[in-house]
């Protein structure tokens, strides 16, 4: 039975920061390779979007081992949580030809906290700068 795990040094990350981690595997196919991806993906009502930012490939990973990984995080997009969409970041390890997949999430935002987007009423009231009746 294969085992695959990821440990990240930090779960609250800032844009541009270097994210370090460690991937540990056991019981893999001896000739397989291991891929570690830095990616973001969306969840929510909309069709899912995702983008792989960077991939580290470990050729001939062997049946067991561990590897340090390091990613320089981009400036965006931020992790956010909205009414219809959430964007999440993670490091994903895939081994054994795809039989083993593990994912470790983290937050990417200026203060390391998920950006919360709350719905506001769509009305056009409460605007002190509504101009009326002054035509020159």
């Amino acid at each position: 039975m294969n085992e695959l795990s990821i440990n990240l040094d930090s779960k609250e990350c800032r844009p541009g920061q270097v994210l370090n981690g460690r991937v540990v595997w056991r019981g893999m196919s001896s000739h397989g390779s291991l891929e570690v991806h830095l990616l973001w993906y969306t969840e929510g009502i909309g069709t899912k979007d995702a983008e792989v930012i960077e991939t580290i490939t470990v050729e001939h990973a062997g049946d067991m081992g561990e590897r340090k990984v390091s990613f320089r995080l981009p400036l965006s997009p931020y992790s956010f949580n909205g009414t219809h969409i959430s964007l999440l970041w993670c490091v994903e390890a895939v081994g054994d030809g795809g039989d083993a997949v593990v994912r470790e999430g983290f937050v990417l935002a200026p203060d390391g906290k998920v950006v919360e987007l709350k719905e506001v009423p769509g009305s056009k009231a409460s605007n002190p700068w509504t101009f009326s009746g002054v035509n020159t």
Binding site: A50, E54, T55, P110, E119, V120, V134
Partner: protein, 558 residues
């Protein structure tokens, strides 16, 4: 598979005839005759030809025109086919070297080979499906590999290639069909300048066309076939063209209604092309059914949209200025890092038109102006109501069919109302909005100038806001839906003295909110919304997109 095999056999026969020996033929007689094959004879016009030829020292005779037997659905088709191989002078036939008694005058169209890939596509889809099922059952269902997001991204890139091929196919097919059918419309229009003559109906009948689909359902269509003769410039001609636009229709009564006007021996009016008297029509009318000719145009537009979506998707996102989020941070550490995809910054472009030299501000443009909206609604309304009108005319004798069409008629009326609304909106005063930056960062202040072009006195109130919203697109059945949610509505604050005619204001983008973001199905959009109330007239409701960038690198590191 069977259809592919049939098509392949026919293709092989036609292509093989191109290697037959070309020999001079002596045409004894050649004419186009109409067989009385009955209502089910879809190709009643036959090239009737007899010819002799010499091959290998022996003399042969034949009456074989082509592999299809020289049968055509119209007199014009048969006449032109005969003219192509023999116009009274020398003719050539193609002799089968394996059997010299077999010869043809016409090869048949080699372009049939282009249609061979079409059924092969379905064969390939079926084979892929069988392979996928076999592979899945052999290797076992792999929940883990299905859970890898990175692999799904890769599959999406692969499926995009399939969409690219489909886009190319639809574009080519749509373009060819559009050109072909456009020529028919143009020919019908040109008939309005043709000369009117008196023709005599030789024979008239209704032709029945039956087709069966894969589910075994049979559909029957009808069209009138009128064979007539006329004299132009002291020369006798024959024709069978009613007009350039008629198509076989399921409305049997309509076909017989046309037929009732053309009995054998009856003198009728025909219109002859003075530049080519062989071409004639009986009717010059253009009815609502011409809208069906727009369908190939829709196929073409769909193909172009697919190509645009697949070819230009990766370049639709531009970097933020001053922050190269891509190159600088893509590679770090060891040399065996690899980049799998495009840069992480997915920003839609703002729609700035130009920079005002006096102020240095950027003039914002709407994505779609009022004229564009009107044209789009008008096109859709004409297309929708045209199609509905065709169905109404065919459903005139059935109350059930008429009742079924009521919701579609209601939608058509709403579209007409929308056209009127958009037309009136074109005459609204125009709002010109300028900003000091079209790509502000979070936390920055956007300075806004506005000016009303037109009669500002018509506007009773005006408001400007910077709004942020989520947009999530998803499929519901066969429809594409978009859910929207507004998370920011920031008033554009103004000076203490202002007017509707022109003014200025500013708005600060909060730090703790989300920057602009655009992926295939999910977006974060920031817009300056302008709302102007005009009594008894469509209101001004314009929006101008801004690209809000994430915090500057220095702001984060600080």
């Amino acid at each position: 598979m069977m259809f592919t095999a049939f098509l392949a056999r026919e293709t092989a026969k036609i292509v093989g005839s191109y290697f037959w020996h070309k020999t001079e033929a002596d045409v004894i007689n050649g004419d186009v005759v109409r067989r009385s094959g009955g209502v089910d004879d879809e190709s009643p016009y036959v090239v009737d030809v007899d010819y002799s030829y010499y091959y290998g020292g022996a003399s042969y005779k034949s009456s074989k025109f082509s592999f299809s037997g020289g049968k055509y659905g119209s007199y014009e088709g048969a006449r032109d086919a005969l003219k192509n191989v023999w116009s009274g002078g020398v003719a050539y036939c193609y002799v089968n070297p394996a059997d010299p008694s077999e010869a043809i005058l016409e090869h048949g169209s080699p372009w049939i080979i282009l249609f061979l890939p079409i059924p092969l596509v379905f064969v390939a889809i079926g084979a892929l499906g069988l392979f996928a099922i076999w592979k899945r059952s052999w290797w076992g269902a792999n929940a883990a590999s299905e859970g890898s997001i990175a692999r799904k991204v890769k599959k999406k890139v692969d499926s995009r290639r399939v969409l690219l091929v489909l886009g190319i196919f639809l574009t080519v097919v749509g373009a060819l069909l559009t050109v072909t059918l456009s020529r028919r419309i143009l020919s019908q229009l040109s008939a309005f300048d043709w000369d009117e003559v008196t023709a005599t109906v030789i024979s008239s009948s209704v032709v029945r066309h039956e087709s069966t689909d894969d589910d075994g359902h049979t559909s029957v269509t009808w069209h009138p076939d009128i064979f007539y003769s006329y004299t132009y410039g002291a020369v006798d001609y024959k024709a069978s063209r009613y007009d350039y636009l008629s198509m076989s229709s399921s409305n049997r009564d309509a076909a017989y209604k046309v037929l009732a006007k053309y009995s054998a021996g009856q003198p009728v009016v025909a219109y002859v092309d003075p530049d080519n008297p062989e071409e004639a029509v009986l009717s010059r009318q253009i009815g609502w059914s011409v809208l069906l000719y727009c369908i190939p145009l829709l196929v073409l537009l769909l193909g172009v949209a697919l190509l645009k979506n697949t070819l230009f998707k990766s370049t639709s996102f531009k970097r933020g200025d001053g922050n190269s989020a891509g190159d600088e941070y893509r590679r770090a550490g060891e040399s065996n890092f690899s980049v799998s995809n495009s840069p992480a910054d997915n920003y839609p472009e703002s729609n700035a038109v130009q920079t005002d030299p006096a102020t240095g501000y950027h003039v914002l443009a709407q994505k779609i102006g009022h004229v564009g909206k009107f044209v789009a609604v008008l096109f859709f309304a004409v297309f929708w109501n045209g199609i509905v009108a065709v169905f109404i005319s065919e459903a005139s004798k059935s109350w059930f069919q008429a009742l079924f069409l009521v919701p579609f008629v209601v939608i058509g009326l709403i579209l007409i109302g929308a056209c009127v609304y958009q037309l009136l909106a074109i005459f609204n005063p125009r709002v010109v909005v300028k900003v000091n930056t079209v790509r502000p960062h979070l936390g920055e202040t956007v300075e806004v100038l506005w000016e009303i072009v037109g009669d500002a006195k018509r506007i009773s109130s005006l408001s400007l806001r910077l709004c942020g919203r989520e947009e999530a697109t998803y499929q519901r059945g066969t429809s594409t839906m978009t859910a929207k949610s507004q998370f920011a509505a920031l008033p554009v604050g103004g000076q203490s003295s202002f007017s509707i005619k022109s003014g200025s204001g500013s708005v600060t983008i909060p730090l703790g909110t989300m920057h602009s973001f655009a992926a295939s199905s999910n977006k974060i959009i920031w817009e300056i919304e302008v709302e102007g109330v005009i009594p008894f007239w469509p209101n001004i409701s314009d929006s101008y997109e801004l690209t809000v960038q994430p915090l500057k690198k220095e702001a984060i590191e600080g």
